[in-house]
């Protein structure tokens, strides 16, 4: 590896963005190595799209430094950043046919007409649009438009690909397929990709590195499974994983090694670490980590079921409690609404959070 390969392809250093009095991005630090697929994920308004737009140059950063391929680009206009972007609405030029849409960037670069036609054919074959090159965008289906938008990006061979929720206008099955195609394309081209989405499943399944944002702040970043297994706070814990983690207020027992959940019947569960007795905590229980068994068996705490949703592959049980617990049981589980079942969770799978700050306790 040469020295330039080790330098991050994209680097945000203490980046802030203000819109008037609104603080959209707060002290963002993010380094993206070459070839990595990074997902920016968070609820709407968390600043993920703003971050992407500052990277593209469509928004100016208020302070901090933004480097692309080792070059400071704070004041470089979008056209000189050599990035390709796929927009949520696809933003295909309505007055141009597919071929002209694909080759628009090349035309601006002054690439010859013959070379542009060759490239367009090449890319059309890659994205499977060979016979649609002469159509106008309005004559294409949603999925085809999405492909043109992708093609328009890959024809450029840019320094990085930026995706702004590119799949959110597609139906569910097509979305799952495109997810794999985009990732496969990324691997084949060996490009650097930054992908904005509000869908944590998309982020988890596609990315090498997931960045969870909230209110203009990066809450946590890391490999998908790291975020799932070791969330740094309650927000990340609740955002990553589906169905979302259950949060139950609890108090540490006298032994310091068990906690009493603030649910009906005050069930007690073991935890992996020792805390001062009487400490108030919030327990985080992932629905898929809870075991269901006989309520009278040793180690199981009883819980009353208020509703059951069977999807075939899994059965979702909802407890008659406040807060309601969601438990994922095996598909074909026989529990019915009104039953009382026993539940158990391994001590090392109980997440504990500070009730005030939401920060993960322990470790």
């Amino acid at each position: 590896m040469t020295a330039t390969d080790q330098k991050p392809q994209i680097e945000f250093i203490d980046v802030d963005k203000h819109y008037g009095s609104f603080h959209a991005l707060k002290a963002i630090n993010l380094a993206i190595p070459k070839g990595q697929f990074v997902a920016l994920v968070g609820p709407s308004g968390c600043g993920k799209s703003t971050l992407l737009r500052t990277l593209a140059g469509l928004e100016k950063i208020t302070s901090g430094t933004l480097n692309i391929a080792g070059e400071r680009v704070n004041d470089i206009p979008p056209r000189k950043r050599d990035l390709a972007m796929v927009f949520q609405s696809y933003a295909l030029y309505p007055h141009m046919n597919v071929r002209d849409n694909l080759t628009y960037a090349l035309r601006l670069k002054g690439v010859s007409k013959a070379e542009r036609a060759r490239k367009a054919d090449e890319v059309a074959a890659v994205i499977g649009l060979d016979n649609l090159l002469d159509r106008k965008p309005r004559e294409l289906s949603g999925g085809q438009r999405q492909r043109v938008a992708m093609g328009r990006a890959i024809i450029r061979e840019p320094k990085a690909f930026l995706f702004d929720e590119p799949l959110s206008n597609l139906d569910a099955s097509l979305r799952v397929r495109m997810r794999k195609e985009i990732r496969a394309l990324h691997d084949r081209i060996g490009s650097t990709s930054v992908y904005v989405t509000h869908d944590q499943i998309e982020a988890m399944t596609m990315a090498d590195h997931v960045v969870v944002m909230q209110a203009g702040v990066i809450e946590q970043q890391g490999a998908p499974l790291t975020l799932y297994e070791k969330p740094v706070n309650r927000f990340v814990a609740g955002f990553i994983g589906s169905p979302a983690m259950n949060f139950v207020p609890a108090t540490v027992d006298d032994t310091g090694q068990t906690i009493r959940l603030d649910l009906k019947g005050q069930p007690t569960i073991a935890i992996a670490r020792r805390f001062p007795p009487g400490t108030h905590v919030v327990a985080g229980l992932r629905p898929e980590h809870v075991d269901i068994g006989d309520p009278d068996a040793a180690g199981y705490a009883p819980i009353k079921i208020s509703a059951v949703e069977a999807t075939g592959s899994a059965t979702y049980l909802f407890s008659d409690d406040d807060p309601e617990l969601i438990i994922v049981a095996a598909g074909g589980h026989s529990a019915r609404a009104g039953d009382t079942v026993g539940f158990k969770i391994a001590p090392d799978r109980v997440h504990l959070f500070d009730p005030k700050t939401g920060i993960t306790l322990g470790d």
């Binding site: 469509l58 990035l83 390709a84 972007m85 927009f87 030029y93 309505p94 960037a105 601006l108 450029r156």
Partner: protein
């Protein structure tokens, strides 16, 4: 039952529309009819709704006797000038007003609308004084073009702004990322997409410039430079008013414009509503 009611309602509304259209179009009809009447039948009681013997020679008369061709050339010159100034300045202004949001933009928009409120008859005196001292009245038709443009600008800017606002911003952003400059994206992406709206607005501005009276009458003293709207009034003499000649002149003056309007009517309507449809 409700379909029947719906039909009846439509019939009533259609009748009302016809009556209103008839009232509005009657003067136009009267202009054409009068131009073909003899002097005596013009004032016949009861009025003749169709001329008994069409006097086509009135048209030959005004072509031969008046300088209608020169007047029409001046009208076209002024209308073209007004359209060019309005479109070139107005399209840029409308784009800025469509794309930037701030209190200053709102103030600018309000000021532009204010211009629309001021009547030409009020504005003409200060304009006359200013143009005289600036020496612009050495070229009275240019002065008139500038004065009319100031009046047509707000209308054009408002129409054009709506056309620009209907174009998604992301298209421009895609062009910027694709390697275009802001100006390049405006010319290559925004303008082609707003073309219909701009053309329609330009056509309406041309018609306004073609029919303009107040500024032309006040700023152009030389008879040879006056447009047809002024030339027509030459037939209004203190003792004799040759109504049929005036009407023939007027008919010659407005028919090409009317024809263009009728032919392009569908495009004009779709251009005006393109913002709403998208």
């Amino acid at each position: 039952m409700s379909a029947l009611n719906e039909n009846r309602k439509n019939a009533v509304l259609f009748t009302i529309a016809l009556v209103i259209a008839a009232i509005y179009l009657f003067p136009l009809y009267w202009m054409y009819v009068t131009s073909l009447k003899t002097n005596s039948s013009i004032f016949a009681v009861p009025p003749e709704f169709l001329p008994g013997a069409p006097q086509w020679q009135t048209y030959a008369l005004i072509w031969n006797e008046s300088d209608i061709l020169r007047y029409l050339k001046n009208s076209i010159f002024i209308a073209t000038g007004v359209t060019l100034v309005t479109v070139i300045v107005g399209a840029g202004a409308a784009y800025v007003l469509a794309r930037y949001r701030s209190i200053w933009i709102d103030i600018a928009l309000f000021t532009i609308l204010m211009l629309q409120v001021l009547p030409p008859s009020l504005m003409v005196t200060p304009i006359f004084v200013a143009f005289t001292s600036l020496g612009i009245l050495e070229y009275p038709r240019i002065g008139t073009i500038l004065a009319i443009s100031a009046k047509t600008m707000p209308f054009f800017v408002i129409l054009c702004r709506a056309a620009f606002m209907s174009i998604p911003r992301e298209l421009e952003e895609a062009a910027l990322v694709d390697g275009n400059s802001r100006a390049g994206a405006f010319v290559m992406i925004v303008l082609p997409l707003a073309r219909n709206g701009i053309l329609v607005a330009a056509l309406l501005i041309f018609m306004q410039g073609f029919g303009e009276y107040v500024y032309s009458a006040s700023l152009i003293a030389d008879n040879r430079l006056q447009p047809a709207s002024i030339g027509m009034t030459n037939y209004l003499q203190p003792n004799v008013v040759t109504w049929n000649a005036i009407m023939a002149f007027a008919a010659t003056y407005v028919t090409p414009i009317l024809a263009a309007f009728v032919l392009l009517q569908r495009k004009i309507v779709s251009g005006l509503t393109s913002g709403a449809l998208k």
